[in-house]
């Protein structure tokens, strides 16, 4: 119990990490680890066929481990260094040194807001959590608003106001003009599509139709681009199975069978 308390409260986990890394890198553990990873990969990939007990096993294991992992991250990366130590600095292993955490009583405010959320567990006292949510949503909206204006809205707005190069005297300049017109017409027509105060009929309807075509072309390009990233993930998994698990030699032999070698 004391050991557990020390692990939970001490910042310096290096000795434990060393023990774990020795355990995981020595003996037959790397081989066993590769087999477990390959087995779980196959369990998850079996979903391509249909829902089955192997997938269910992998899914539940993945869910359980990830939930526990995230909880650990919260404790060691957030709660302990940013809440417990500023309130009780003596618990910090670096206490008394320049790296040690100093007392910060302001932390009590977010602490109380956190406790308000936990009040939902007490029947009839759930309304306390609304104070926290109001603070949370209001605060984040306030932070997000200037960021969105400055980072997204205004730069795009100004970037759209570009001069249209009317003078065409070469293929390059014609392409430049076409590009410029696509940007101008595309931006305006998409804005019209997202205009909700008028029915999309007549002229507005035709412009908004151009807007949705523009969107679909953009989505098509984005689709292809994103699919490439997904394929590279799949390739990564396949490489793990073929080279780390099955082994390069066996893969080469199998490949030679197909090539008649």
């Amino acid at each position: 119990m004391t050991h557990l308390a020390i692990i939970l409260l001490q910042n310096d986990l290096a000795p434990w990490q060393e023990v774990m890394s020795t355990f995981l890198t020595e003996g037959g553990m790397p081989v066993l680890g590769t087999w477990i990873a390959a087995g779980l990969t196959l369990c998850m990939l079996s979903f391509v066929y249909k829902d089955n007990p192997f997938f269910r096993f992998g899914e539940h294991l993945y869910l359980g481990i990830s939930a526990a992992y995230v909880m650990t991250i919260y404790w060691f990366n957030f709660l302990k260094p940013k809440f417990v130590y500023p309130l009780i600095p003596v618990l910090d292993p670096h206490y008394g040194t320049p790296e040690g955490t100093s007392l910060n009583l302001w932390i009590i405010v977010p602490g109380i807001l956190g406790v308000f959320i936990l009040m939902r567990l007490i029947p009839g006292q759930g309304w306390f959590s609304r104070i926290t949510f109001a603070f949370y949503i209001g605060g984040f909206t306030g932070v997000a608003l200037p960021r969105i204006f400055a980072g997204f809205l205004l730069p795009q707005f100004f970037a759209t106001m570009e001069a249209i190069p009317w003078r065409v005297n070469s293929i390059d300049s014609a392409v430049l003009l076409l590009n410029s017109l696509i940007l101008f017409i595309g931006a305006l027509s998409v804005l019209v599509y997202f205009f909700f105060s008028m029915e999309h009929r007549g002229f507005i309807g035709r412009v908004s139709r151009v807007g949705i075509y523009m969107l679909m072309i953009a989505f098509g390009a984005s689709f292809g681009y994103t699919i490439m990233a997904r394929v590279s993930l799949l390739i990564g998994r396949m490489q793990f199975l073929m080279f780390d698990w099955i082994g390069e030699e066996i893969v080469a032999r199998i490949a030679s069978l197909f090539h008649g070698g």
């Binding site: 899914e59 993945y62 992992y69 400055a150 205004l154 989505f219 994103t226």
Partner: protein, 456 residues
């Protein structure tokens, strides 16, 4: 054959020896001149004398032409404007006779006598004040002859002392500027000092303030109007009619409805919009006496979703039908969440899937699995890269702002309705500005664009 091998081996060995000896002799040549300098005092004098005695002429190297290192005439160090009090800025007008070979180095010390810590350097062809528009909005707005000032002023920002140690607010720092051409360096005569101070108002964000006030006022006006008249017109959003259709179909089939709020936190706007629509869906589900499953990725979203669904059931007059266990936490990890939801889709076979809110790489996994189960799927997100996946795999997709409009359309709440109308007016303003601004810029009149750019 053997002879040939021997011959070849011999040639290789000889060549190697030759190369080695050449290399050693070069090293010796380099080291030799160091020897006299290594000697000290009397030994050195003796050696010099020896040279004279044996009658060798001392080798006089041809004098290299004197390297001129230009220095700026007036350098200033001051607090970096529009920052949080962790920056200083070194500014000076281009030195006369600056060449590409000239580099400037900035060092910072705790006192006027150092010790000096080199912060960074830059060639004389870089670090222009005009490139740091954000820090000097007024400079660009009010200075006459802006074009003439182009690349005449250098500026160098100091924000850390190396190793990511930031400057401290209120502490005086001393700065030394050094100009170098090759190995020849000259320090600026004066050691300058300044103290970083924080500013409450970032003048570089004035345009944000102007737009925020304008848009905010418009939205407030329309919220007030929506309170007086909740029937303000909003066009029909295709896909929303399908909400009732999907819930009805699930009821007829006796299968549940799956509702996802996305993977973002409660602070994200798409999550808030998704929760708004969830309220409406919950009311319908309660009316139809169907069942609802809401797996959540974020614990805070979970608690809010529980509140919203409970309120929806209460509004529909069926508080007894509310089952808090049907709104549950899965995990915070993105892909294990996706695996969990896919499992639910395959096992519980919901007849309707709602995928609202923000999604990332798991969008296609979820939507494709849902399509496999034969469920009617309605998606809504503003994640641009995920929209193509939803468009291809779902029956209806709310694109971008339609997600926000949908919650206004469904709820008719004055707050959301007024916000949507206000945003529409902002769009009209932006469309007009884009048309006018583009035409003016095309004809060489750029004051509208420059005005706002100068402020931001």
């Amino acid at each position: 054959m053997k002879n040939f091998i021997r011959l070849a081996t011999s040639v290789v060995v000889v060549l190697t020896l030759l190369l080695c000896s050449a290399a050693f002799s070069q090293e010796a040549d380099v080291e030799l001149p160091d020897e006299p300098f290594a000697a000290e005092g009397d030994e050195l004098e003796a050696l010099e004398g020896a040279d004279m005695v044996i009658g060798l002429e001392p080798v006089m190297e041809e004098a290299a032409p004197a390297v001129e290192v230009p220095l700026p005439t007036h350098v200033t160090v001051s607090d970096l404007p529009n920052d949080d009090g962790t920056g200083l800025v070194v500014e000076f007008e281009k030195a006369p006779g600056e060449t590409e070979a000239l580099t400037y180095t900035v060092s910072v010390g705790a006192g006027p006598d150092g010790p000096w810590q080199e912060i960074g350097g830059f060639p004389a062809t870089k670090k222009w004040k005009e490139e740091a528009r954000h820090y000097y909005p007024a400079f660009f707005l009010f200075q006459k002859g802006r074009a003439g000032m182009s690349k005449n002023f250098h500026m160098f920002v100091i924000q850390e002392l190396g190793d990511n140690v930031p400057l401290e607010t209120g502490v005086e720092y001393f700065v030394r500027l050094t100009a170098s051409v090759g190995d020849v360096s000259r320090n600026y005569a004066e050691i300058l000092s300044a103290t970083p101070e924080e500013q409450w108002f970032d003048t570089g964000r004035t345009n944000v303030l102007i737009f925020a006030v304008l848009f905010g006022a418009t939205i407030l006006y329309f919220i007030a109007r929506a309170r007086r008249d909740p029937n303000l017109f909003i066009r029909k959003i295709s896909g929303l009619d399908a909400v009732d259709e999907a819930i009805g179909r699930a009821t007829e089939m006796g299968r549940p409805i799956l509702y996802l709020n996305g993977i973002d936190t409660l602070a994200a706007l798409p999550t808030l919009a998704a929760l708004n629509i969830l309220g409406r869906v919950a009311r319908r589900v309660a009316n139809y006496e169907s069942s609802l499953i809401v797996p959540c990725k974020d614990p805070i979203v979970l608690t809010v979703a529980q509140e919203i669904v409970k309120a929806g059931y209460t509004d529909a007059g069926r508080p007894d039908a509310y089952n808090p266990d049907s709104i549950f936490f899965l995990t915070e990890d993105q892909f294990s969440y996706a695996a969990g939801v896919c499992g639910i889709m395959m096992r519980d076979k919901p007849a309707a899937n709602f995928l609202m809110g923000y999604y990332a790489a798991e969008s296609l996994i979820l939507a494709e699995t849902g399509a496999d189960t034969g469920a009617i799927q309605i998606a809504g997100t503003d994640a641009v890269h995920q929209l193509p996946f939803f468009v291809t795999t779902c029956d209806y997709t709310l694109i971008g702002e339609e997600l926000y409009a949908a919650s206004a359309y469904l709820s008719r709440e004055p707050l959301i309705l007024g916000s949507l109308k206000g945003q529409d007016m902002a769009k009209v303003f932006m469309m007009v500005m884009i048309i006018v601004g583009t035409l003016l810029v095309t004809f060489g009149i750029a004051f509208i664009k420059d005005f706002f750019l100068a402020l931001g």
